[in-house]
Symmetry: C2
Subunit: 488 residues, 2 copies
């Protein structure tokens, strides 16, 4: 795609002076229309011409209202960033609806640099590109306008630009050591750039390659393309993402759970003590090794999630875990992709995060209650798999638990809870209403398990009619997962 | 105060077993009442008995619903934390209304450790204690229930505890190298602890010193005190903070501004070029030196804030500044102290943050429009001074600008704006309504300047009837401030 941007195109001073004032007015006004709209813009500006793209960014900030641009220059990851999966910093920076997030460098450049420096091999590069495609698609499906610009300068022009900048006293600060390094690896990098551009040039998130040699041409081309994209989006809502085809029936995973499992008091006490001791030891080792873990708990109302989680936290030092109850999102969360609120909770290295309910709400309660459109919950399976695979690839332990009871047992527990002195266990009308949808939830759970149980982030269906047995099953599973992941 | 906690108090197993079940029920229920109330709890747990206090924290997490405890163990500050003022991490961790933030170690222990290690001298220690008092008072005034527990163990008992823990295989992991260091400096530290406890034991944020030798006594005493504090607070709203006495008239600082200042076109162009070049150079040096700057812009509607800010950002690389427009707070912000949203915007080292409107809204629009109570905006002066002094003490450049025009000039600009093609400059009814309150705003500005202009965070009243002159005044002031702060 790069050769399209090696034509020596120029804009004269007069042409520029004629076009710029109206473009500025239009861009500012588009920005103000955006503020009243229901989508955000992620504007990726990157390329092989760092100085040129910096000038374009500077220019855009002069043209537009900088108060509503959130600009992020992605350089070497900080310590906090290194402790999370690669894309954490991109998720963390997501703009809310109505704003433009300007992502400078970002994931495309990062992938090319890692490849050309030999930090990843060809297979890993291909894998990274797949994650990139998924990330961009996730954002686009959520309604975000994803715009991507690659500023391209031919090698001989890059050399000229660097020499000229170095000579000119006022511009000399613009040239950094790395710019000459980029020049040195230019030929080696270009094939990877081509691969990147082709592999991530999609219908909903296309690349725009901009010829970068002539400043006026570059800035004007960029500005017009940005304006056009915004105006097009205002004119027409995006086509809804296609709904993945419904695949027939899913195995009745819940039906396979042996709910007769039971532990007597002595077995329970000794197994509890044993696995809590293992977990205490393993989580302390995990802290020292920087091994992070993510535990997800879902299950029927009154299946005993709270009690299971408590048996885990009893064994873990308070400094080593955080417990995230998932309730209604805040307005900062509602203004972004639904996974944002979970990305922002990822802990520093060496800690355990326990989600009491989770991103699976999308394909459980939101599906069954109709809070999410069918299109939204259907694509969530893929989004979730990609999210979890990034956690696992970063080296995290990811384990997911569904606590299963039957309807009779649930009713017994509701009745018992109505007698307890703890306010939090009071049963409400809603709890009884949810019971009515048992079959719909069962179908949702079976599909969820079929679609999202993976080797690196498996689902465990826990027989929970007997609480002691459920607690021990979970503790043992978690402890075993740590044992496998910890370095000896 | 420590001698009160050296009495060898104990709770027997039977007493504990009799008291604990009801205490747990009451604590859980209090926690659920808190969720429906309009205040948050900051629970500081610290002391000279690290192992003991960790046990109490573990115990509290077992007793209460850990999902609604946000626990923060404040150890050595991270790189991100080091780049901000000392209390940034405490502000950043503030719980929203309805939740309990558990602060382990935190500012009291940090102050004592810095003093005993000789990182600060006696004067700096006294100064730190004043900041602590102010922080706690700010939170309490805002309605936060601030609870502080110091877990105290006499030296001989500390020795016993450490030896016992080391011998016991199951507990050995509890002892860290630093625990024996604490033992070694115990005698040296205690006088500072006494000073800390006395200096920060206030009516609204009192210390509770808990004798820590006997685990059952410690945990039960802590749990009961926590419950009592919560129940007292539910029973009675806190007494409103006293309103600082009104001090007569303030100098008419705005009246002193010479609005006839004017620059002709040539003077403007050359001065603009000169000071933008200085700023370009200085901000790049600032990046390298890690010098952070905070610029605050306030002023009459249509006084030209936007144009001034644009002349600054033109000269600064996009990566070196962030522009924060202050609009309506999000619900995460509304659930916390009003300064929280500004603390969270403090940039990493070496960057400039520009606030387009700011925390001064509290004593300007919120005062004049009655959005804040008189008690709230009156105490804001002191809160703001303390906040800014922390920025300055951290080495930041803090400069504040009020752009001043007269009423006639404002009206002329309103009329002119009604003709512009930029939507953002459209004048609304509200702009005209605000004009009616000119005198009330003038009084508010004069009081604000008198109370909050300090040597390290000065106000600059900028004559802005002539836009070019205003821009050059600001640019020169900012550049001069950088020049003074930069290392040669």
């Amino acid at each position: 795609m790069l050769e399209t941007a090696e034509q020596g195109l120029k804009v004269s001073k007069d042409e520029y002076a004629a076009a710029e004032p109206q473009l500025r007015v239009d861009l500012i006004n588009a920005q103000y229309d955006l503020m009243n709209s229901d989508f955000s813009v992620v504007l990726v500006i990157t390329g092989d011409d760092r100085i040129g793209l910096n000038e374009t960014i500077q220019c855009m900030h002069a043209w537009m209202d900088a108060r509503y641009l959130e600009t992020h220059i992605f350089q070497l990851p900080s310590r906090e960033e290194q402790e999370r999966p690669r894309f954490w910093r991109y998720w963390r920076a997501l703009p809310p609806k109505g704003k433009i997030g300007v992502y400078v460098g970002a994931w495309p450049l990062n992938a090319v640099v890692d490849r050309v420096r030999g930090r990843i091999d060809g297979d890993e590069f291909a894998h990274r590109l797949a994650h990139i495609r998924q990330l961009e698609q996730d954002l686009a499906n959520d309604g975000t306008l994803v715009l991507k610009f690659w500023m391209h300068i031919p090698k001989k022009d890059l050399k000229k630009r660097l020499k000229r900048a170095e000579k000119n006293k006022d511009d000399a600060w613009q040239v950094e050591d790395t710019d000459w390094e980029v020049y040195d690896i230019y030929d080696a990098a270009m094939p990877y750039v081509e691969t990147l551009l082709e592999a991530t040039h999609t219908k909903s998130c296309p690349w725009q390659v901009v010829e970068s040699c002539n400043d006026r041409f570059r800035d004007l081309t960029f500005g017009k393309a940005l304006l056009e994209a915004l105006q097009q989006r205002f004119a027409a809502s995006p086509a809804p993402a296609p709904v993945p085809p419904e695949v027939g029936d899913f195995p009745d995973a819940l039906g396979e759970v042996d709910l007769s499992r039971k532990l007597d008091r002595d077995e329970y006490k000794s197994a509890l003590r044993k696995h809590q001791a293992r977990l205490a030891k393993f989580t302390r080792q995990a802290r020292r090794q920087g091994l992070t873990s993510v535990l997800v708990f879902e299950g029927w109302d009154a299946a005993g999630k709270g009690g299971v989680i408590r048996r885990i936290t009893q064994a873990v030092a308070v400094r080593d875990y955080q417990l995230v109850p998932v309730a209604a999102p805040t307005d900062e969360e509602r203004a972004r992709h639904y996974l944002w609120r979970f990305w922002r909770q990822l802990p520093q290295a060496g800690r355990m995060v326990i989600f009491d309910r989770s991103w699976y709400g999308r394909v459980l309660v939101e599906r069954v209650e109709g809070f999410a459109s069918e299109e939204a919950w259907r694509r969530a399976y893929e989004e979730i798999n990609d999210f979890e695979s990034q956690l696992a690839e970063h080296g995290m332990v990811v384990q997911k638990f569904w606590l299963h009871v039957d309807r009779d047992e649930q009713l017994r527990r509701f009745k018992a809870r109505e007698q307890t002195p703890y306010k939090k266990y009071k049963i409400t009308e809603e709890d009884y209403r949810n019971r009515e949808k048992w079959d719909a939830y069962t179908a949702a759970v079976n599909e969820m398990v079929a679609r999202t149980s993976t080797a690196s982030a498996p689902w465990h269906l826990i027989a929970a009619n007997d609480k002691p047995s459920a607690r021990v099953q979970v503790l043992k599973t978690v402890a075993d997962a740590f044992k496998q992941a910890l370095k000896a």
